[in-house]
Amino acid sequence: MQPTLEKLLQQRALWRCRRDSLDGQAATFLSTGYSALDAALPHGGWPRDTLIEVLSDTVGVGELRLLMPALAALLAERDGYIVWVGSPYQAYAPALLQWGIDVDRVLLVNASTASDVVWACGEALSSGSAVAVMGWVDALDITATRRLKLAAADNRSLAVLLRPLAARAQSSAANVRLAMVPGSDGTGVDLFKVTGGRPQRIPAFESFSAFWPPLTNQPGAAASPD
C-alpha cells in the first residue's frame, strides 16, 4: 500500500467502505453457498440479522434455491424455526430435506392480506424463536421494512421478503435488495442495492448447462405437449 494512503488511513481521514470498516465482523456474514454471489457481496456472504429483499415475478426461477444453503446453515447454528408467511404455493418437505433443512423446524403461516403478512413476520421475528422469517408480500411502505429490519436486528434473526419486480421502484430499508433475472442458462441476479458494497449483475448464480442439460433422447414425438 502507498505510504501516503497508509498515513491517511491511520489518521482516520479516509474511510474505507468495503473491508476495513467492518474488520472483525467477518463472522456476521453468512455464506450464500454460491461462489459467484459470495464474491459479489461484501465480506463474502449475506449480512446477518437484517432484512433482505428478493424480487421476482414468477416462481420456479431459483428464488428459493438462492436462499436454501444459507437457511440450512442458520438452522444448524442455533435452535429455532424457519417461518414461512403467506407463501404462494406449498413448500415441499422432501425437497427441503434434500437441501439439508430440518423439516421439523419449519413453520408455515397462512396469511392472505399484506398487513397480516407483515404483522405475522414481525411477531415471528420478535418472538425470538425464529432463526429466519420469509414473507411473501406485494405492497409495503418503508416504515414497515424499517420496523422488520429492527426486529430482525434485535432478535438476531434473518428476515427475507419476497416481492414482485414492481417493488423495485419503492424504497426499502433492506440491506440487500436483488431481482431475479431468469435466463436460458440459469438465473441471473441483479443486486441493485447492497449496503457496504457495489450494485452489480451476476449472469447466473448457478450454472445450469452442466447441471441440467437438455435430454438428448427426447421421449418420442409424444414428448412435446400440444
Binding site: A93, L215, A222
Partner: protein, 544 residues
C-alpha cells in the same frame, strides 16, 4: 341432617398413624381426600379391593390397536443411548426384549416400527382408565403407575355379584385394547400383589390372606433389587418365608416401613388410600355494573377473571390449554370465544394480550353485561427451568419452547386456528403423499423414526439428480396448458422417473416424471400418465 346421624368411628383411621407411604404417587394429591367413605350405609359393606394390573400399559398408550400386529417398539433415551422400553408381541417373537438397545433391536428386526416414549401419554391413558373405573365404584386408587385399585365391597351387590362386576370391567378395558390381570383381596396391597403374581386370585376374608399370600414371590412387591438380593441370600424368596422372620429383627435389618407394608397387606394395620379425584372444572362469572360495548374495556375487565383462574390453577399445580370466554348480553345471543395459550405460556399478562388479539375481529351485536370464563380440563403443570448465567446468551430449551408457544398462540388468535402448520414427512412414494401438514405441537404423525425414502437423499450433490424434488409442490397437479400459453413448449431435461404405486388403496398412480425447462427460465416438474394414449402433460411442482 348430617348432624342428626350418630357419629361412627371409622375403622381405618387411627391417631398417630405413621405417615410415610412408600407409594409411587405420580401426581400431587388434591387438597382434601377423606378416604373411608360411605358412613351412611346401614351395615357397612366389608371392604374388598379389586386390583387391576396393566402390564402392557406403555405399549398400549403409544401404539394404536390396529398397529399392534406388526413388530413395533417404544423407544426411550436413557443416557446417550436409545433402548427398547415396550414392545408388541410380534416384536417379542423376533427375539427383541425390554431394555435392549435400539441397535441390537434393529439388527434382529430391520423393519421394526419405532415410537418415541412420552410419559404424558401413559399418564393420560391411565387417567382415562381411572375414569372408566369410576363407573364401578366411587373409590378408585392409582396404586402404582400400572396398577389400579377399586374398592368394590359395596359395588358387588349393585352390579349383581363379583363375577359379573369383574366381567363388565374386563370387557370395558379390553374393548379399549388393554391387556389386564386382576385379583381381589380384603386389603389394597394384598390385592395389588396378587394381581401381579397370581392373576385371578380372589380372597374374601382377612383370615384367608395368610394362605393366599404364602407363595407370592417377593419380586411382585416392587422392593429395591438390592433388598431382594439380601433376602434371597437369607433364603427368603416368598411372602410366607418373609413372614416367618422375627418382626423385631426384620424391622431392624430392612427398615420399619417394609414391616409396615407387610402389616398393611395382611390387614393388621390400617392402610389409608388416596382416591383418585378427577379435575374439577373452573367457572367464574363477572357481572358488570353497566353494559360495556368497548372491546378494550371488556378485555380489561376480563383480567379479573384471568387472575382468578391463574390462582386456581397454580394452587392445584395445573396448567390451562384451552379456556372459554362467554360474553352475555341482554336481548342478544351470547358471544363465545375460545383461547388456546400454550402449556408453557401460563402468565396472566400473556392471556390478556391473547384475549385482546382475539377480540379484535369480533363483532359484538350488543353490549356485554356478564362475562363468564370456563375451563373444563386442566393439565399437570410443567415446571420451567431457569437459564444458567454461564450458558451465555443462548436461551435454554424451555425458554425457547415457551417463546414458540407464545408465537403460535398469537398467530392463531389473529389469523385463525388453522393458520399455522408444520411439515411432516411420510414414507410414501406418491409425491403428494410424501408430506403431510400437521399441527406444530403434534409429534410426527406416525412416529416412524427411520425408513422415509428421503432420508438417504440428503443434499442435491449426493442425491441422484433424477430423484430431486421441487421446492414448491402444487396441491393438485394442473394441466400444462392451464398454466402456460399454448405456444410455450417445455424442454425436458431429466427423466423419466417412473412412480407407479398405490394400487392397494384406490389412489393408484402410474406416472412418468420429468424435470423440464420453460423458455421464460422456469424449472418445472411435469408428468404424464402412463395409461394415457394421447399423452397430456401435468405440472406438479416448481423448482423454486
Amino acid at each position: 341432617m348430617a348432624a342428626s346421624r350418630p357419629v361412627r368411628r371409622l375403622p381405618t383411621v387411627q391417631a398417630g398413624e405413621p405417615l410415610p407411604l412408600p407409594f409411587e404417587v405420580l401426581e400431587p394429591a388434591p387438597p382434601e381426600t377423606v378416604q373411608p367413605m360411605l358412613p351412611n350405609a346401614r351395615a357397612a359393606a366389608p371392604r374388598r379391593w379389586l386390583a387391576v394390573s396393566l402390564p402392557e400399559l406403555i405399549m398400549e398408550s403409544h401404539i394404536d390397536p390396529a398397529q399392534r400386529g406388526v413388530a413395533a417398539a417404544v423407544i426411550v433415551q436413557d443416557g446417550g443411548q436409545l433402548s427398547v422400553r415396550a414392545l408388541t408381541s410380534a416384536a417379542a417373537e423376533q427375539g427383541i426384549a425390554d431394555g435392549m438397545t435400539l441397535a441390537a433391536a434393529m439388527a434382529l428386526s430391520p423393519d421394526l416400527r419405532l415410537y418415541t416414549f412420552f410419559p404424558e401419554r401413559v399418564v393420560q391413558c391411565r387417567d382415562e382408565l381411572l375414569q372408566v373405573a369410576l363407573r364401578f365404584t366411587p373409590t378408585v386408587v392409582c396404586h402404582r403407575a400400572d396398577v389400579l385399585l377399586l374398592e368394590i365391597g359395596a359395588s358387588r351387590r349393585l352390579f349383581g355379584g363379583f363375577d359379573r362386576l369383574l366381567a363388565l370391567l374386563t370387557h370395558e378395558l379390553q374393548r379399549r385394547g388393554h391387556a389386564l390381570t386382576t385379583a381381589m383381596a380384603p386389603t389394597p396391597r394384598a390385592a395389588a400383589w396378587l394381581a401381579l403374581s397370581q392373576p385371578g386370585a380372589a380372597v374374601d376374608t382377612v383370615a384367608q390372606l395368610d394362605a393366599a399370600l404364602r407363595d407370592v414371590s417377593l419380586s411382585a412387591l416392587g422392593w429395591p433389587d438390592e433388598l431382594l438380593r439380601r433376602l434371597a441370600a437369607m433364603g427368603v424368596r416368598s411372602l410366607g418365608e418373609c413372614r416367618r422372620l422375627p418382626r423385631a429383627g426384620f424391622a431392624k435389618r430392612f427398615g420399619p416401613t417394609r414391616l409396615l407394608e407387610l402389616d398393611r397387606a395382611y390387614g393388621q394395620t390400617a392402610d389409608p388410600q388416596q382416591s383418585y379425584q378427577p379435575d374439577e372444572p373452573f367457572v367464574a362469572r363477572l357481572e358488570l355494573t353497566t353494559e360495556i360495548a368497548d372491546k378494550t374495556r371488556l378485555a380489561g375487565m376480563a383480567a379479573v377473571l384471568l387472575e382468578r383462574l391463574a390462582r386456581f390453577a397454580r394452587r392445584r399445580q395445573r396448567c390451562v390449554r384451552a379456556m372459554q370466554f362467554t360474553f352475555y348480553a341482554i336481548d342478544a345471543p351470547a358471544t363465545v370465544r375460545v383461547l388456546r395459550p400454550g402449556v408453557l405460556a401460563q402468565e396472566v399478562g400473556h392471556w390478556q394480550r391473547l384475549l385482546a388479539l382475539d377480540l379484535e375481529p369480533v363483532d359484538f351485536r350488543a353490549p356485554t353485561i356478564l362475562i363468564e370464563l370456563t375451563v373444563g380440563a386442566f393439565e399437570p403443570l410443567r415446571a420451567r427451568n431457569g437459564v444458567l448465567a454461564l450458558a451465555g446468551d443462548r436461551p435454554s430449551e424451555d425458554v425457547q419452547a415457551a417463546a414458540t408457544q407464545l408465537l403460535l398462540s398469537r398467530l392463531r388468535a389473529r389469523l385463525g386456528r388453522e393458520s399455522v402448520k408444520a411439515l411432516r414427512l411420510h414414507a410414501d412414494h406418491r409425491p403428494e403423499r410424501a408430506m403431510q401438514l400437521s399441527e406444530p405441537e403434534s409429534v410426527s404423525a406416525d412416529s416412524c423414526v427411520g425408513l422415509s425414502p428421503w432420508r438417504e437423499l440428503v443434499l442435491p450433490g449426493s442425491a441422484p439428480l433424477i430423484l430431486q424434488r421441487p421446492l414448491w409442490l402444487l396441491h393438485e397437479p394442473k394441466p400444462f396448458t392451464e398454466l402456460f400459453s399454448a405456444t410455450t413448449k417445455p424442454v425436458l431435461c431429466h427423466g423419466p422417473e417412473r412412480i407407479e404405486t398405490g394400487w392397494w388403496d384406490g389412489a393408484e398412480v402410474q406416472r412418468d416424471y420429468y424435470m423440464a425447462r420453460v423458455v421464460d427460465g422456469r424449472r418445472i416438474w411435469v408428468f404424464r400418465e402412463r395409461a394415457d394414449t394421447a399423452p397430456r402433460w401435468f405440472v406438479h411442482g416448481f423448482f423454486g
